[in-house]
């Protein structure tokens, strides 16, 4: 099967094909954008946060750093969602689960580093003392090693997604069915994690972290380091995404989105393509969750609520599906709006969010990035 054939198959199917021109933006433009991003992230932020005195107008507060760090984690999740939804046409309503699993894996390590500084001054986390447990359950073993926790961050969401995806895609569950099943999956997981007996702190989840890799977790330098790592991860995943969507693999994915039956008839088995991008997307989410937890300082089962996962979809939709920069924009716009509203007009945030859902789907199917391409053509 030649590349031209796939293009020919995909081209008339959907106007969204035009969007693929956007990620076809010339390498020079991308390089320039990347350069700006690197300078802002790795020079402006550390200098303005750590070196410029707090009285100066140029100072960037710790609050801003944490907020932006958090939003970058969300942007990574939105990017992962875009790979599976925007490019492959599979809407997952369970991405919050993978995010939370990554977060919990990191949280286990962070809980172990608290040591005897908890309220009960026990070797065990407070919630286990409270449950009268005498030892760590088996699935907590080795979590005191950072490398092992990091492995879990990748493996747990990845394995779950792989197994679930294999069965779902094999029996050709797609469209809304798939969305609803993934929603049920995250809902079931939320119920499971809400139980105290599950061994992940029940309602309260993990919190009160003290240090990471020996550094105090609240120190400004640690925060800045986490911020920079998150920024690097975001840029790295953007580049990875660009590499994928520009490759042949990416073309097949888009073709699956636009006309799956035709792809099958052309001799491709969509199962493995879907499974690959689905698992990759889940792993990216897990990593985002792992970066999120030390910055925010808490992880609890409400991260797995169906509402959270749907919100991820709306970040992607607001920014623009099928573009790489779109999800990042969307996550930023929606979450900045959220933190502004919840401070100033808390009662109105849900109205605004609800309206965003409706207006974007009705009037802005290509999101903010779509506005830009429209103005260019």
């Amino acid at each position: 099967m030649k590349r031209e054939d796939i293009e020919a198959a995909a081209a008339p199917a959907d106007a969204a094909f035009a969007l693929s021109r956007l990620h076809g933006a010339s390498s020079r433009t991308v390089l320039a954008m990347l350069g700006v991003a690197v300078i802002v992230l790795f020079v402006v932020f550390p200098v303005c946060n750590l070196m410029v005195p707090a009285t100066s107008a140029l100072h960037i507060s710790d609050y801003t750093v944490t907020l932006l760090g958090k939003i970058m984690c969300y942007a990574i999740v939105a990017l992962a969602m875009d790979l599976i939804w925007g490019y492959t046409g599979i809407l997952s309503l369970g991405h919050g689960l993978f995010f939370a699993l990554g977060g919990y894996a990191m949280g286990m390590y962070l809980m172990r580093t608290i040591g005897r500084e908890g309220v009960y001054q026990s070797e065990l986390p407070d919630f286990m003392v409270f449950l009268d447990w005498k030892a760590y359950p088996w699935y907590w073993s080795f979590t005191d090693h950072f490398w092992y926790a990091a492995l879990l961050v990748v493996l747990v969401p990845g394995l779950l997604a792989f197994v679930f995806g294999y069965f779902a895609f094999r029996s050709r569950i797609k469209g809304v069915y798939f969305s609803i099943i993934t929603q049920a999956l995250t809902y079931a997981a939320m119920l499971l994690f809400f139980r105290n007996d599950t061994g992940f702190g029940g309602n309260n989840g993990f919190t009160d972290f003290k240090r990471i890799l020996g550094f105090s977790i609240t120190a400004p330098t640690t925060r800045m380091a986490l911020f920079l790592i998150t920024g690097a991860a975001l840029l790295g995943f953007l580049l990875l995404g660009r590499a994928i969507v520009r490759s042949k693999l990416g073309r097949v994915l888009t073709a699956i989105r636009d006309a799956e039956t035709r792809v099958m008839f052309s001799g491709y088995n969509p199962l493995y393509f879907k499974l690959f991008i689905w698992t990759l997307s889940a792993v990216i989410c897990g990593i985002a969750g792992a970066l999120y937890v030390p910055q925010v300082g808490i992880i609890n089962p409400s991260e797995m609520s169906p509402a959270n996962s749907i919100e991820i979809a709306i970040w992607t939709a607001v920014g623009g599906r099928g573009t790489l920069i779109g999800p990042v924009l969307g996550a930023a716009v929606v979450n900045l709006g959220k933190s502004w509203f919840t401070q100033v007009l808390p009662e109105y945030w849900l109205f605004v969010l609800g309206l965003v859902f409706i207006l974007v789907t009705l009037f802005l199917p290509r999101g903010i990035a779509g506005l830009w391409t429209r103005s260019r053509t």
Binding site: L91, F164, F167, A168, R170, S171, R172, I173, G175, V176, Y177, S179, I180, I181, Q183, A184, L185, Y187, A188, L191, L192, F194, R195, T261, P306, A307, I310, A313, I314, A317, E347, Y348, L350, F351, L353, G354, L355, V356, F357, I358, V360, T361, L362, P365
Partner: protein, 539 residues
């Protein structure tokens, strides 16, 4: 009580009614009264036992009068009942006026007071008032002794109320078990085999208890009998539990059915993913709440009937909201299910926040009308609440109406036509846009009815709908799209399976198991239990 006693008592009663007796207490033998008033310790106890054994109302009045201190003695031979400034001589039945000066109180010590109380309770067991008998039975549970035993067994043979009967049987058995006579104890244990109450089980288990490897109970024969009785009690208890579980399963199933029926129309028939369906349920519940308040304020006399008025109101309000949503948002998204999903999720957020703004974030109180509270007691451990029975009947009614509407009316015909082939239906002159709106309104209205029903058994709050949305989608997905029968089977099946798993593994794990089961099931039969037969490759 045997037939002869019944006849005798009826005769006595008839006689008492026909022949004027100076005082009700004349029925008590004078010697007994004298013993009661002047006797000491055991003599008095015997007198009370005699009165209790006779079991008539006069004895009860006498004992109550003694307890209240209305019975006084004069000298060594007269016993008077004082009422205000009048008195009756209890021995002769003649009125005494004016009151003599040398009145003495009947001496009531602790033992006598206790015996009096027990006697009174035993006698009150014969009262025609259920509440009185129940209270007496409860009182006796802690204070019955061998003297009250005859009264208890008489009452037991006459009692028809299962709750009181259970209490009495238990009391009787525990008194008999405390007896010194091995035969009595054996009989008691045997009698317990017929019970179906949980406390009997505890009682029997106590007999089989071991301390340091040695049985507390010495009598081996008794233990064997206790074991046999225990087995039969347990058998009966587990039957009761089974019935209760099936009932609560059906009840949960009908609730799921109500929640999913509307969805079966909007999603199953029209293909619209309405994530705001749960909020339409919530709106129905709030409509019920408003109707309730209106009734409480303006027609307190007719409060019991507010539900009758709330049902159409809930339907109308939810249907209206649904039709507005359809006209303004959803119709622009037909054929784009994923977008519909997101947009309707947005709608649900707005509806939740709107309700929060209007009614507050707290749950509101919806009261059951009096005829919906309480329940039918089938066995001592199985009570079927009227509210749940009502919902089962209601769901069946809604289902029937919906089936009639879809299969027997012109609108139903149009809906089915549009479902099967929109283009063809339109060409044949079916106003598809109008049908869409009406069908969506119907689905939403049924969601409102579900809300009205849910308000009777659960909390009504802005988040009410969220807890049902995943479940009702599961029902529709499991049942198969486009089929009412599938929805019914799926809802009832899920309800019952859920309840049985709950008893086995707890509520949360049950839910998880069911969700995992559905996920696996969908692998095998992606079209659900009942798939529409057709030749389309892609839905």
């Amino acid at each position: 009580m045997n037939l002869r006693q019944v006849l005798l008592r009826t005769l006595c009663l008839a006689f008492a009614l026909v022949v004027p007796v100076p005082s009700a207490m004349a029925a008590v033998a004078p010697e007994t009264i004298r013993d009661l008033a002047f006797g000491e310790g055991d003599v008095r106890a015997k007198a009370i036992a005699a009165i209790v054994a006779s079991g008539d109302a006069a004895g009860l009045a006498l004992l109550q009068a003694v307890q209240a201190g209305d019975v006084k003695t004069v000298g060594e031979d007269r016993v008077l009942l004082i009422k205000g400034d009048e008195a009756t001589d209890l021995l002769t039945g003649s009125a005494v006026k004016p009151l003599p000066d040398n009145l003495d109180d009947v001496v009531v010590n602790n033992r006598f007071r206790r015996e009096l109380g027990t006697g009174i309770a035993a006698l009150r067991l014969t009262s025609p008032e259920r509440a009185t008998r129940l209270a007496a039975a409860k009182e006796l549970q802690t204070r019955a002794d061998e003297d009250t035993l005859p009264a208890i067994s008489t009452a037991l043979s006459k009692e028809s109320d299962p709750e009181i009967k259970g209490l009495l049987a238990l009391t009787q058995a525990s008194v008999q078990l405390a007896s010194k006579d091995p035969a009595t104890r054996l009989d008691a244990v045997r009698a317990l085999a017929l019970s179906d109450s949980g406390s009997v089980k505890t009682l029997l288990l106590a007999l089989l208890e071991r301390k340091n490897g040695v049985f507390v109970e010495q009598d081996a024969q008794l233990r064997a009998e206790a074991e046999r009785s225990l087995a039969s009690v347990q058998q009966r208890l587990s039957t009761g539990e089974m019935i209760g579980r099936i009932f609560s399963g059906i009840s949960l199933g009908t609730i799921l059915l109500l929640a999913a029926l509307g969805l079966a129309i909007t999603y199953g028939l029209m293909g619209v993913i309405n994530m705001a369906h749960g909020e339409l349920i919530m709106i129905g519940a709030y409509a019920t709440y408003v109707v309730q308040n209106v009734f409480r304020e303006h027609f307190p006399g007719a409060f019991d009937f507010y539900l009758v008025c709330a049902i159409p109101v809930a339907f109308a309000v939810s249907a209206a909201v649904g039709m507005v949503l359809e006209r303004t948002v959803i119709r622009w998204l037909y054929g784009r299910p994923l977008e519909t999903l997101l947009a309707t999720w947005g709608l649900s957020l707005i509806l939740i926040q709107a309700v929060r703004t209007i009614f507050g974030a707290q749950n509101v109180q919806v009261e059951n009308p009096s005829w919906m509270s309480g329940g039918v007691e089938i066995m001592t451990n199985v009570v079927l609440p009227w509210s749940r029975i009502g919902i089962i009947i209601f769901a069946a009614g809604v289902l029937l109406l919906m089936w009639l509407l879809l299969s027997r009316t012109r609108l139903g015909l149009f809906v089915r036509a549009v479902t099967q082939n929109r283009g063809m239906a339109s060409s044949l002159g079916v106003p598809t846009a109008r049908v869409d709106m009406l069908a969506f309104g119907l689905g939403s209205g049924i969601a409102g009815l579900a809300g009205c029903a849910l308000s009777q058994i659960g909390n009504v709050g802005p988040d009410l709908g969220q807890s049902y949305i995943v479940d009702s989608f599961m029902v529709v997905v499991l049942g198969g799209v486009g089929q009412l029968a599938g929805t019914v089977y799926a809802a009832l099946g899920l309800g019952i399976v859920n309840k049985f798993l709950e008893a086995w593994q707890g509520a949360v794990l049950a839910k998880i198991v069911v969700l995992v089961f559905i996920i696996i099931f969908i692998q095998k039969r992606p079209q659900g239990l009942f798939a529409l037969k057709g030749r389309t490759v892609e839905a």
